[in-house]
């Protein structure tokens, strides 16, 4: 086959013969790989290798002097079943689920209403969602510390209303409040992106066919906006599960959460293998949810 094509190719090289096309294609591929290489290598060294190191460490042995990278065992993973650790995992998961649900409940109607507005209003509304999104997370959590603190606006208000000195600071409620406050924009933005793309005529058609408002939401709007729901939920759930700053500022000393527990293993308990195993749990949750998302046909987060 090549024998018959070759003379043609040599007569007129400009004509896109299969070989010429293939060579060009290959050159383009090589150039693409070459351009991706610097970032690829960077992430390989500073992301993939560290990730592998964490996994390796989780099977290592803790000694009095630190960590010994020998005597491989799964003790660190066995400890995940300890009642204390199980409690922490359960509490963190519950808090992350509640945070995600509250965010969904607030963000869905918000994003839906936003997409019914004129383009000008929409853009303005978007700007006022972007501002908290860009604002320092630490500072935003600290603001709640001031509000909920003793003698702060919250305790004054609750006393004035007659609720007495209701104390919220250093409770799980305060942590949920801080997490919702911190991550709500991460729910609104993907939901808005998903709902805005929906053809409004589909909703009208469902109403024309005598669907009630709820039915048309349940069977048309919700399924079509599912990619946004899933993306937003991942973006809120995963960081909430591993939250460290919020519980440190707003949470109580008695109710440890996964993020803080991991930090303790590294910065004070010096039990690196166990800390690595706990981090691996978070990584597994993250990887699973990402894979599920991309399998379900999601394109961008």
């Amino acid at each position: 086959m090549t024998a018959t094509l070759e003379p043609e190719a040599s007569i007129d090289a400009d004509v896109a013969t299969p070989e010429f096309e293939a060579a060009r294609e290959q050159q383009k591929r090589r150039q693409g790989l070459f351009m991706a290489l610097p970032a690829y290598l960077y992430l390989f060294v500073f992301f993939v290798i560290p990730l592998v190191i964490v996994i390796v460490y989780s099977f290592a042995t803790r000694t009095r002097f630190g960590t010994e990278l020998s005597g491989w065992n799964i003790d660190s993973y066995r400890r995940l079943g300890d009642p204390l650790v199980r409690d922490i995992l359960l509490r963190s998961t519950t808090l992350a689920v509640i945070t995600t649900l509250i965010c969904l409940l607030l963000a869905y109607p918000f994003a839906y209403y936003m997409s019914t507005r004129s383009e000008k209003t929409r853009n303005l509304m978007l700007v006022f969602v972007m501002i908290p999104f860009w604002t320092n997370f630490l500072v935003r959590n600290y603001a709640w510390r001031v509000i909920l603190g003793s003698d702060g606006p919250y305790s004054r208000l609750s006393e004035a209303i007659g609720f007495g000195e209701g104390r919220l600071l250093f409770t799980n409620v305060a942590v949920i409040l801080g997490l919702v406050y911190g991550f709500l924009p991460f729910m609104i933005l993907p939901l808005y992106a998903a709902i805005e793309r929906i053809d409004g005529r589909l909703l009208e058609a469902s109403r024309d066919l005598y669907a009630s408002g709820f039915q048309s939401f349940r069977h048309v709007l919700l399924p079509l906006s599912m990619p946004g729901v899933v993306a937003g939920s991942i973006l809120v759930f995963v960081p909430s599960l591993g939250a460290y700053v919020t519980p440190a500022i707003l949470g109580g000393a008695k109710t440890t959460l996964l993020g803080s527990y991991i930090v303790t293993q590294f910065l004070s308990a010096r039990d690196w293998p166990f800390g690595a195993a706990l981090s691996f749990v978070l990584m597994a949750v993250m990887l699973t949810s990402t894979i599920v998302y991309f399998r379900k046909g999601g394109r961008t987060l």
């Binding site: 019914t116 320092n136 408002g213 590294f266």
Partner: protein, 274 residues
Amino acid sequence: MSGITEPRSTTKRVLQANIWLVYLFFYAPILVLVIYSFSDSRNVGAWGGFTLDWYRDFGDSSAAKGALSNSLKIAVVSTIVAVVLGTISALALERFTFRGKQVFDALLYLPIIIPDVTMAVMLLLFFSEAANIFGFSKGFATITLSHIAFSISFVSIVVRARLAGMDDKLEEAAVDLYATKWQAFRHVTLPLIMPGIIGGALLAFTLSLDDVVITEFVTGPGWTTLPVYVFGLIRKGVTPLINAISVVMLVASMGLVALSLLTDRARGESAEIE
């Protein structure tokens, strides 16, 4: 495609109430913080008349100013590197197909959704192993390298979004008019994606300035950044000085948002010209 039509009146009122509730939720705490930062009272939650003392304290505190300067140095260097690497990778992903592209694409998303704590642990173990081999001390380099690691992805995504909305026929036209590939890139592609690059750079800069957890894990002696410094203060207790520093950080964030919105507007206008 027609937009989504108006909801009915009762539903509409509930939806509107939700909008105001969310905005109140977003902005009331920030406002409270700003007000209290001017309060002349040691008691953080109480109003004691107007004062600028706490801002003066910030100006007088060499620890706070040192931390601020560390933060800025790290943010500038990490942003420059992340922008270069992120932009080139965005071009590769949007304009070329190559082997391993899907893996690379997925890899780029991971630093965005990974919880801070996990990435902090990864980098802590990585740098302590590397220090055993190469013998360096933690500080500017380890923090900057870590910040680049999470910023590349954000830059890449912002630039890619810009590239995706752009017609690659413009580059082809330039090449047809005998521009070299480099000239086509330099005079056609680059100016067109510039708003995306600036947007990505501002995001990378903000993320670097804001990071607490990862920095806390990979920092070394003498390299406390402003958020790490503030976080340390908060854990010791709430003081009016923290209010003032927080408001300064808040204003800086807002300034960066304003800049990014301005480039966004420029983006919109140049898109219209196209």
